[in-house]
Symmetry: C2
Amino acid sequence: MDAKQGQTEMAGGARRRSEAIREALEDGIITGAISPGAHLDETELAERYGASRTPVREALQQLAAAGLIEIRPRRGAIVPQPDPHAILDMFETMAELEASCARLAARRLTAEDRAAITEAHARCSTADALDPDTYYHRNEDFHLAIYRASHNRFLEEQATALLRRLRPYRRLQLRLPNRIASSLTEHDALKDALLANDAERAATLARDHVQVQGSGFGDFMALLRAAAR
Amino acid sequence: MDAKQGQTEMAGGARRRSEAIREALEDGIITGAISPGAHLDETELAERYGASRTPVREALQQLAAAGLIEIRPRRGAIVPQPDPHAILDMFETMAELEASCARLAARRLTAEDRAAITEAHARCSTADALDPDTYYHRNEDFHLAIYRASHNRFLEEQATALLRRLRPYRRLQLRLPNRIASSLTEHDALKDALLANDAERAATLARDHVQVQGSGFGDFMALLRAAAR
DNA sequence: ATCGGACATCTTGTATACAAGAAAGCGCTT
DNA sequence: AAGCGCTTTCTTGTATACAAGATGTCCGAT
């Protein structure tokens, strides 16, 4: 990846350079284009994005504060390679946040929420089960619709941020055999509970849907190991 | 507050200046020494902390990424004056996170957890009910013990971060008449549910304990209004 | 008195230079 | 060959200077 490509990554609008660089780096980390374990060299990044070190450093400060990278004083920034325990902790927390969103959503559904959730579910159903990427995007839209339907802006933001952070691993999950089919079934039950205003049932279904548990646990761990190679 | 005081605030250890400035500012915001609505002038802060603008800017980037301040491009950083709706959203999310911590803790208690929670509760009980500040600190220790007992490091960090962010408002709550007494009663029931490994009951008690609801709602809103003057 | 435009001032965003600490390399001794 | 100490190089942390945008002030026209 050369300097011109970096500058293309952050094209668009009269934004601060530091902000554009932060977004480009965040995307690279979340999509895996920047590998876990990678050292982020300020001078190299400055060249790549056609800027001085200053906005690069500011971008790195922001990423560190958001927990996406680690800055070791005087030794530079790295993209951490989370150990499987940390990933599981994050998934468990994601499950809890999704359960909270579902419980609140089930009690607060507006007509717009109902329509949005129903449509998002329908779009998941029509995605080709052999195409995990399309399913992945529509699956995410379904989840986002539930966060929004909680009508708690702060909770929505927290859940969305963690969803973004877990993207690489959530993509992995969809590669397991039959995972898309079972995901769809779970979505269906969850949609029904939401539309029926059954808060506790929605919370339980949402938590179980996201939680890495049972036979999926070993499969997921195996995928993590394979992805780390 | 003059320049010498700023430098005293960040004394201690061979840390990066930007880190020390961030911590000092964060504390100022959380304790209310830096008022909501305040404009954070880089040049003034640099003078105050005896540094150049560069580490000040880096500290501000971190604070913005953590959601404690807002940076408006080319117009500077302010400490936002959250509207009451945003505060309530944060409290509701806090209640959900505390419910999650309590549920997981009730299922995972070690002997150390039991001792820590029991002791923290006992210390709350011996605090002078006429001294909200002492009670406030011990109350917080009780909550932190529960987060730790969840044995989910990520969830513990998220809950702790939000607890810190809500400190000004949680302090306000303890000034309501009889709030300390009712808080103690609720802690007692929560401790019992935890020690009895009753996950669902613990979750419900924890959520209700933190949630701003019922007759406490109007009282809390009145306190917010008074505090904004 | 009010409004609009021009200019000055202030503050932020970024580039560049210098200082400081960490890591790597090299040579010598055991 | 391994270990240690010294020197060099590299990278990060910070200070300073310059550029750019926002805000405030002043003056003239109506």
